[in-house]
């Protein structure tokens, strides 16, 4: 519906501007608090702009850590998180593309039933799987390592299979048929025809799984013991004091560091992101 009258236009703009302010304000607050000296963090009424810009809060957060726990190896956590992200994203894209191809472009008995079963599994809440998976990994001796956090990504996930299968179905049959006539194996069709045409969909899968892994909290919480192996989301918790009271300026600095890469990534990949979300919603 179009807003035709000028009055309607103005009202819409006003509401949107108001909304934007409300939505952006917490992030703005996070950044300004991260740059304040500690005395200014707990003032009533609050200071909107720091009187002194303490960029060294960031240095402190990353090198010294928190008073409660001492040194927090932030860079270490960043490396761990990146490692996991790369492994998960690669595994997700590779495995789900292969699997979705099997569902979309090949015919074999039981295919549709299995796909239906796959869809059904999307409804299973994580808590149901949590305990047996933990027990399984314990018996494998994988608790305390990174393996439970990325190996499963290499074996497919229902949501991504669904997404990619829907996309693969839209690629015209003639292209793959022509390749087969020319003597290509299925894998060659997959690699040389389907994959290049699926860049947008694959990008969406990659971005979503990156975001998910970067933000993952419960997985690292359960499986990682050695603090040197923690991820950024776990590490952020350390700035919260157990005994009461928190160093807000350091905590906000650390939080900003954790949020920033995602926002930067988003700015560069906006269109793909939005497209991807739209597609999932539409076909769902």
């Amino acid at each position: 519906m179009q807003a035709k009258s000028p009055l309607a236009r103005v009202v819409v703009h006003a509401v949107l501007l108001c909304g934007s302010f409300l939505f952006l304000f917490p992030l703005f607050w996070m950044i300004t608090t991260s740059l304040k000296p500690v005395e200014e963090t707990m003032l009533t009424p609050p200071r909107w702009i720091p009187s002194v810009w303490r960029f060294d809060n960031y240095v402190q957060a990353v090198t010294y850590g928190s008073q409660a726990l001492g040194y927090i190896p932030f860079f270490e956590y960043g490396k761990n998180t990146l490692l996991l992200c790369v492994l998960v994203v690669t595994g997700t894209v590779v495995s789900n593309a292969l699997i979705a191809y099997g569902f979309a472009r090949l015919e074999w008995p039981g295919r549709n039933a299995l796909f239906g079963l796959t869809l059904a599994t999307m409804m299973i809440p994580f808590p149901v799987l949590m305990v047996p998976m933990f027990v399984l990994f314990k018996h494998l001796g994988w608790v305390g390592t990174f393996r439970p956090l990325w190996v499963t990504a290499w074996f497919g996930s229902a949501f991504n299979i669904f997404l990619l299968r829907q996309f693969f179905l839209t690629i015209p049959r003639e292209l793959s048929d022509a390749a087969v006539v020319d003597g290509c194996s299925e894998f060659q069709v997959f690699r040389h025809i389907i994959l290049p045409l699926s860049r947008p969909a694959l990008a969406v899968v990659a971005l979503f799984s990156f975001l998910y892994t970067w933000n993952d909290f419960l997985g690292p919480l359960i499986y990682l013991n050695d603090q040197r192996m923690f991820t950024l989301s776990l590490g952020l918790q350390f700035y919260q004091s157990q005994a009461g009271g928190t160093e807000w300026h350091l905590l906000m600095a650390a939080a900003t560091i954790v949020v920033l890469p995602i926002i930067v990534l988003f700015f560069f990949t906006q269109r793909t992101f939005i497209q991807g979300i739209a597609v999932t919603g539409m076909k769902g």
Binding site: W150, S241, A243
Partner: protein
């Protein structure tokens, strides 16, 4: 993608896969020694004190090397690690964790090692030795003890017209003093509370003890809502009622970090606080020059038999089940528990020692001027600690939740505590049955 890029990319991926697969807790260097991992909860100067002991141990012999790691939320982490099959060799827990962990067979009983090395109950202040015992077996040795006393801010006393050298002796006096010490500003905003039962809030469940109450009968009956407990909680509630729930909650949410000059007691926001023997250390570090005193917590007037009641707890060292080097682990624990090791550690942490014997230099050198108060209350018979039952952590959570309800005026003490009793009695009955079954089987 061009060929070199693809090859390069594949190599990088292979490298990352390798790292992702093999990365685990750091492997021990090969130097002929047995390497044992030791998880400890302490940070800051408390950790430094233990590190000095670890260093001394590593230096004094060349068969064993102890690697100490600082772990936060150590009780939770130990559970996860034990459940996951990857526990450390030595772990530093709190005495209140022992029952639950021992019951769940997370910890090794130490009786054999203790007898072999000749370590006996008489070597310790009884209260602390008993903390480490569960169902007739010893599961830990205490390292640093803790007893409580009422700390007060002498300067604020003076300003309120109270004698700074005379702490309140009865609960009624405490209430009176608190009233005189509480200050508000022109807007009605609290700027100083004389006393806050929920600051620091670590022992919210325990207020009944000071009135003669207790958590259970020692074996099978939960007494959460016995009359003395109800009295204690209603007394605590009187504070939120008198000073206004909203007011107090708001005031509290503005407290700074415990380990900083913005600590509520250190910054003069709370004039009297029930705290442990470690507090002197924090005062020295973050508010040097503060005038303070410590005395046993007051008793209800007319009940002198309840004088000098103190909560006792201890940090303890245990060996989890599944530890790879049990004998070496015990050797380290034994070293820490020796007179020399213990005094080094406790002096460093500015606490008293759990050992029965104390060298006179220890007391003379001790930086805490009130250390004798803490030693004395620990030796009394009316000390208490959390009940030694595996349901204690849930019981404690329930008590904390009940305290909240009572404090916020959501429920009466009898009602809230009664509900806790009903729930926990069921839990306790079941836990006792399970323990009996397990003992029958073994």
């Amino acid at each position: 993608m061009s060929k070199p890029l693809r090859i390069g990319g594949t190599l990088v991926l292979a490298a990352l896969l390798y790292i992702g697969f093999t990365r685990g807790p750091q492997a021990a260097p090969r130097d002929g020694r047995v390497h044992i991992t030791y998880w400890e909860k302490w940070t800051g100067f408390e950790a430094d004190a233990m590190r000095a002991v670890v260093k001394e141990f590593n230096r004094s012999q060349d068969r064993i090397f102890v690697e100490m790691l600082t772990i936060s939320q150590i009780d939770r982490k130990l559970l996860l690690a034990a459940a996951g099959g990857v526990p450390p060799d030595v772990v530093g827990l709190w005495s209140m964790n022992l029952s639950a962990f021992a019951d769940r067979q997370v910890l090794h009983p130490l009786d054999d090692s203790l007898t072999r090395h000749g370590i006996r109950r008489d070597d310790y202040i009884p209260a602390y030795w008993d903390l480490c015992e569960y169902r007739g077996r010893m599961y830990a040795l205490p390292t640093t003890p803790g007893s409580l006393a009422l700390h007060w801010n002498k300067k604020l006393f003076r300003e309120a017209g109270l004698d700074p050298e005379r702490p309140p002796r009865t609960i009624e006096e405490l209430d009176e003093y608190a009233e005189r010490l509480t200050k508000r500003d022109e807007r009605g905003h609290t700027v100083c509370m004389g006393f806050m039962p929920n600051e620091p809030g670590w022992w919210n469940w325990s207020w009944g003890h000071y009135f003669g109450g207790g958590m259970w009968d020692g074996s099978e009956r939960i007494t959460a809502d016995c009359p003395e407990n109800i009295q204690g909680f209603e007394w605590a509630r009187s504070y939120s009622r008198k000073y206004g729930v909203q007011n107090v909650q708001l005031f509290r949410s503005g407290f700074g970090n415990f380990s900083s000059p913005q600590n509520a007691f250190l910054s003069g926001k709370v004039a009297m606080e029930l705290q442990g023997v470690w507090m002197g250390n924090f005062i020295d570090k973050y508010a040097p020059g503060m005038e303070w005193g410590a005395a046993p917590f007051p008793y209800p007037a007319g009940h002198p038999e309840l004088a000098e009641v103190s909560y006792v707890e201890a940090d303890v060292l245990c060996i989890p089940v599944g530890a790879r080097h049990m004998d070496e682990a015990f050797e380290f624990i034994r070293f820490v528990s020796s007179q020399k090791g213990m005094e080094l550690l406790c002096l460093g942490q500015r606490k008293h020692t759990p050992l029965a014997q104390v060298s006179p230099e220890f007391i003379a050198q001790h930086p805490n001027p009130y250390i004798q108060v803490f030693i004395d209350v620990a030796k009394r018979t009316r000390t208490f600690s959390g009940p030694k039952t595996p349901v204690w952590s849930e019981y404690q959570n329930e008590m904390d939740a009940a305290f909240d309800e009572i404090w916020l005026g959501q429920a009466g003490a009898a009602d809230a505590l009664g509900r806790v009793r009903v729930r926990m009695q069921g839990r306790l009955d079941r836990a006792l049955a399970a323990a009996a079954r397990r003992e029958d089987r073994s």
